[in-house]
């Protein structure tokens, strides 16, 4: 489990939520056409799968699956709270979190000290 896998899980769920009419209206002030909705669903699903694969790769199958479900639930809670109180933030975070995670990952590598 890492910031990146959590960010991917969040963005995946956010994409799935925005593919629904009700929530697209809250965030974009209009309903999306079928094409973009399908794209959002596919992208959302793919991101969730990538998140699962990355988590399992680092923690192993049994523990990794549990961690992935935990991240899904945490992301879902964040989505629901944001959609209720700050709908615009959902889309903003969906873009910002993965970007931030990648930045953190690069910074980590760059600053990693060789082990003694």
């Amino acid at each position: 489990m890492s910031f990146l896998t959590f960010a991917l899980a969040y963005t995946g769920l956010a994409a799935l939520s925005l593919a629904m009419h009700r929530h697209a209206r809250e965030v974009f002030q209009r309903e999306l056409a079928d094409g973009p909705r399908l794209a959002l669903r596919c992208a959302g699903g793919c991101l969730l799968v990538v998140s699962l694969i990355l988590t399992v790769a680092s923690s192993g199958w049994p523990v990794g699956t549990v961690e992935w479900f935990g991240m899904l639930i945490a992301s879902a809670v964040a989505c629901v709270l944001l959609l209720t109180y700050y709908p615009k933030a959902v889309a903003v975070l969906a873009a910002a979190l993965p970007a931030l995670a990648v930045v953190v990952l690069i910074l980590d590598r760059y600053r990693a000290w060789p082990s003694p």
Partner: protein
């Protein structure tokens, strides 16, 4: 199905709320126990713990038949050393002998004297016994857990638009909002709720459903435990003395065997005897099963004799299911996710209870009194939902304020817990329907918010220090108390704003939309 969901959830709801709260707290049992023994606050881990432990054991109990060393870790930084008091020669009562021990600070080697308290263990036991003893408590919790399983399954079957409303929450709309909240916390963490309920039943399954084992082993009663849960054999004393092998190399062997995981405890049987055995148990993080992982070494030669805990098939499934419930395998962040899910489960039960009474207490016109049944439900709801957080806070307050030398100190802390909880019911009884909610939540918020202050006034490890130099457990605990206070404050604010919806209905009839059991003969 909606009918079944309401009736399976409701009477069990009060018990389940207590179970969820204590269960969520139990995820942090070691941290709570550590915070509740402030005499241990200065303890820090140290790599030479084993050498220190062996020295103490050689000094204090050279002729003992059994030495136990519990190594320090991040969640419990103290070194606990114990030994079986030497029995009289000729008496083979090794297993029921008197057990003595000391608690040490690994970094200084000093012996520490923690105050008497049940600590976090109280919440763990309360979680499956509710203070009602092994028979009544276990059966009550088990019955309610079964009811919860039914409630979850019937809820899923009844809720056909499960995914359409997945992300929906509409606050401020009275009964509709409670329903949304109940749906949201129920559905969002649905995998967790199903998992925790089923695995919870699994932990006590031999008590609840003995028929399979009892029938298969009708003519061989002890056989099941031996075949299903084999334990490492006990060492045998030979009577010849021999020098105990060095322990440190064994630690390294164990870590290699366990792919880097450190031992959590070391048990040495018959040290100084030719038949001595050294048994190491793996620490829990990272290994999903609950089954203990052991390595047995020969106490004289240091050779690895056997490895225990690798299981397969049905035993492995059982170990994993049990382990998923205990969540001891989890890392720091995963544990917090479990705790988040536990909070969601608590909220699910609470919103369900409120929904039950909000739906069935028709919006009464002013001046119309509630029926006795409605009043009982209101009081029970309020006393349980607001009373338990208050009781938890009072338990922590009692830990800091009760004198250290008080006789039966652990029992008194627990009495304070139950007294505070009971008083909340009485307070709810004395007020009318809506006023207790914001008041009690506010009291709870205040009690939790002031805890770091009480900690600061009664111990040297207050938040200012613990944030800077540690111990991290103290900082984490105090911050969590402030977090809980914030949540209760939000609840207090929310419940003070609710306005009753007015509708004309006669007292006795059920409001429209109440789910009824369908009878189609």
């Amino acid at each position: 199905m909606a009918w079944l969901h309401a009736w399976a959830g409701w009477p069990a709801g009060w018990v389940l709320y207590a179970v969820f709260i204590s269960g969520t707290l139990s995820y942090f049992r070691p941290e709570i126990s550590h915070w509740m023994r402030p005499e241990l606050a200065t303890a820090r881990e140290h790599p030479d713990s084993v050498a220190l432990a062996m020295r103490i054991l050689q000094e204090r109990a050279p002729n003992s038949s059994r030495w136990v060393i519990n190594l320090p870790n991040a969640r419990e930084p103290t070194l606990r050393v114990g030994w079986m008091a030497a029995s009289e020669p000729g008496k083979a009562d090794r297993l029921i002998g008197r057990f003595d021990g000391v608690v040490l600070d690994p970094s200084t080697g000093k012996e520490l004297q923690p105050r008497q308290t049940r600590g976090g263990d109280f919440f763990q036991r309360f979680h499956y016994e509710l203070g009602l003893g092994q028979v009544w408590g276990h059966w009550l919790v088990g019955g309610c857990a079964m009811a919860m399983l039914i409630a979850i399954l019937s809820g899923v079957i009844a809720h056909k638009q499960l995914f359409r409303n997945f992300f929906t929450f509409r606050p401020g709309k009275g009964q509709r909002s409670w329903l949304d909240a109940h749906h949201a916390v129920g559905v969002l963490a649905l995998p967790y709720h199903l998992l925790i309920t089923y695995t919870g039943l699994i932990t006590m399954m031999f008590m609840y459903m003995p028929a399979a084992v009892e029938t298969a082993y009708r003519y061989d009663p002890g056989g099941f435990l031996i075949e299903a849960f084999p334990n490492p054999p006990h060492a045998q004393s030979t009577g010849r003395s021999a020098r105990l092998t060095a322990i440190e190399p064994l630690l390294q062997q164990a870590e290699r065997q366990w792919n880097g995981a450190a031992p959590a405890s070391i048990v040495i049987e018959y040290p100084g005897d030719a038949g001595a055995r050294v048994q190491m148990q793996r620490s829990t993080p990272g290994k999903l099963t609950n089954t203990g992982q052991y390595i047995i070494f020969d106490g004289v030669s240091g050779g690895m004799l056997s490895v225990w805990g690798e299981e397969s098939g049905a035993m492995q499934v059982h170990g994993v299911l049990y382990g998923l419930h205990m969540a001891r395998f989890s890392s720091f962040s995963l544990r917090w996710m479990f705790a988040l899910c536990g909070v969601l489960g608590t909220l699910m039960v609470a919103t369900g209870l409120v929904l039950w009474s909000v739906k069935r207490m028709p919006q009464r016109a002013e001046g119309q009194r509630a029926t006795l049944g409605q009043r009982v439900v209101e009081i029970l709801n309020n006393g349980t939902i607001t009373g338990l957080p208050i009781a938890v806070a009072v338990y922590f307050w009692a830990n800091r304020l009760l004198p250290v030398t008080l006789a039966e100190r652990p029992a008194w802390e627990i009495r304070c817990f139950f007294a505070a909880w009971g008083l909340t019911y009485i307070a709810a009884l004395l007020q009318n329907a809506r006023t207790p909610w914001p008041r009690h939540f506010f009291v709870g918020a205040l009690l939790f918010a002031l805890l770091p202050l009480v900690n600061g006034l009664t111990t040297p490890a207050h938040l200012g220090i613990s944030l800077m130099q540690g111990p991290a457990i103290y900082a984490g605990f105090d911050l969590s108390m402030l977090g809980i206070a914030a949540l209760l404050a939000i609840a207090a604010w929310n419940t003070s704003r609710v306005r009753p919806e007015r509708k004309e209905t006669a007292g006795d009839t059920l409001p429209a939309g109440t789910p009824m059991l369908e009878e189609r003969s």
